[in-house]
Amino acid sequence: MTRWMLPAFLAVGVIVTLVLIVGPAVYAVSLSFFDLPSLTSDPVWVGLAKYQAVLASAEFWNALWNGIVYAGLAIVLQVVLGISFALVLHQPFRGRALVRGMAFLPYLLPTVIAVLTFKWMVDGSLGIVTILMDDWGLPPIYWFETEQAAMISVILISVWLWTPFVTTTFLAGLQTVPTQLYEAARVDGAGPVRRFFHVTLPVLRPILTVIVLLRGVWMFNKFDVIWLTTGGGPLGATEHLPILSYRTAFALYDIGTGAAVATISFLFLSLAVFLYFRAFPMEDDA
């Protein structure tokens, strides 16, 4: 390897990163300091005025809260269900390989397919769920029409789509826990539940920490599920920061404010991740 090769190889990566990631990000943040009614008009410097406006608006706080509720509940359900499925799929039974494969399928579906399928299943007149519930004499559910139901629906779809990620990751982790630890715990008198809390969970804590972090960040920034189902409605009940940012920038053509929302969202998430790492260090205390 000659002397110029190392910088040359590095340069490729650095240039790609600068052009495709750093550049647009800096540009997006810089937009938040300008008034820009459309992408073709000349930007007017307004300083922090957009931030003042955003922080003073009820819409922003509503969206932030919705984002926290949506991401929080979705993560809790994904993790609890994901771990439960992983524990079941870890047991030996006939056809386990097949079931394991099927359990991963939802994760492979494009979001739009999953969302459209769900909407179709709960369609007010033709949906299979609607028809079955009617047959059983249950009252109809207005899946996307009432404020609480809409939030629950988008959470359910998200859980259905992304629980397999937790299941698969945790299952991979389960296979690395030494069998002898379980046997030692059995001899020590720990039943299945105590073995889970005293062996499985502590041993897999690093994996779980990463799962919750990744899923948390992804859910907080998740755009497509909500956009394709409720679009943020009804009455802003499912509008979170990505939707608010998009709607402000591209529906109301206030690009500066949209950029300010996105920037605040980014800062909030950075702070949350920082606190998360403080609370759950990746390395065990030595």
């Binding site: 030494p178 046997e183 001899v187 020590d188 008198g189 720990a190 502590p202 041993v203 065990d284 030595a286």
Partner: protein, 360 residues
Amino acid sequence: MAEVSLRNLRKTYGGVTAVEGVNLDIAKGELIVLLGPSGCGKSTTLRMVAGLESISGGELFIGGRDVTNLEPKDRDIAMVFQNYALYPHKTIRANLGFGLKMRGMTTADTARRVDEVAEMLAITHLLDRKPRQLSGGQMQRVALGRALVRDPAVFLLDEPLSNLDAKLRVRMREEIALLQKRIGKAMVYVTHDQTEAMTLADRIVIMRDGHVQQIGAPLEVYDRPRNVFVAGFIGSPEMNLFPAEIGEGRLRMGPSDDLSLPVPSGAPDGPVIAGVRPEALFVAGEGIPFAVRAVEQLGSQTLLIGRIGEHQLRVMEDRRDDIRAGDTVHVSADPAGIHLFDKETELRLALSASAEPARD
């Protein structure tokens, strides 16, 4: 009354038999070693006693109770695993106390008991550390401690020293022996290392392919191996085993007359498998010509490896500085040191009692 009783214990997986009919009574304070090559069923047998493997047939009694179908925790046993199996996220103190906590012992009693055992094993200074901050030998002590804390009727040890280096293994072996005598409980110890078995055991159970080959005190199986397998497995360096013919009061190792050794009296004429320990052969002024091919110096002893006729043999001498590879010497044997086995069944041939081989 035996503390632990294995009655015709069997283990099958599908159609495959892993352990066939083990019968064994273990007295209180007795140290039993299950010995054999890998896959012989010794670990499976231990795990059946522990309750970690279900018992396919037969019965198991511990402390007079039928525990054949009980969970490990209800059997009054404690186990030491090959890889220690310490809970990695718990402190040593918590590791030691876990079994007591699971059994509902109060915090104060647990602490007292843990301190007692830690002191006995000289690991008090390690109590607040985590397992990965410990050396192999220290982890081994903790693993022993976790078993001791529980004060069970029987201790089960599954190749506990195999992860330690040679020097430490010898030291821990001595410690285990002393500890076991001190606490006076029954112990079942699995190993594939015949030296460990010889040095530790009150009785050795030698297994092969799921079958018990012989049960006996170390010197008993050393002096009177029941078959060719035991003869070859016990003793280091290995016993010389070769086909031979008995005739005219001599053990013939080859076609020519000079390749023969004296035989124990009472041996029947005919083809046999003969066994002579390297230490039962000696270099003498006259005897069988022995072409030395290699000389291994062990310090106080010298191991000669060479050929007699077409057989490769080992001869153990007290230290000799004068024999080199390439030399030919003459060797002979004490008839009492020659073991004879049936050529077909490989079982030890019964001789008249007076002629039984014995070490003096």
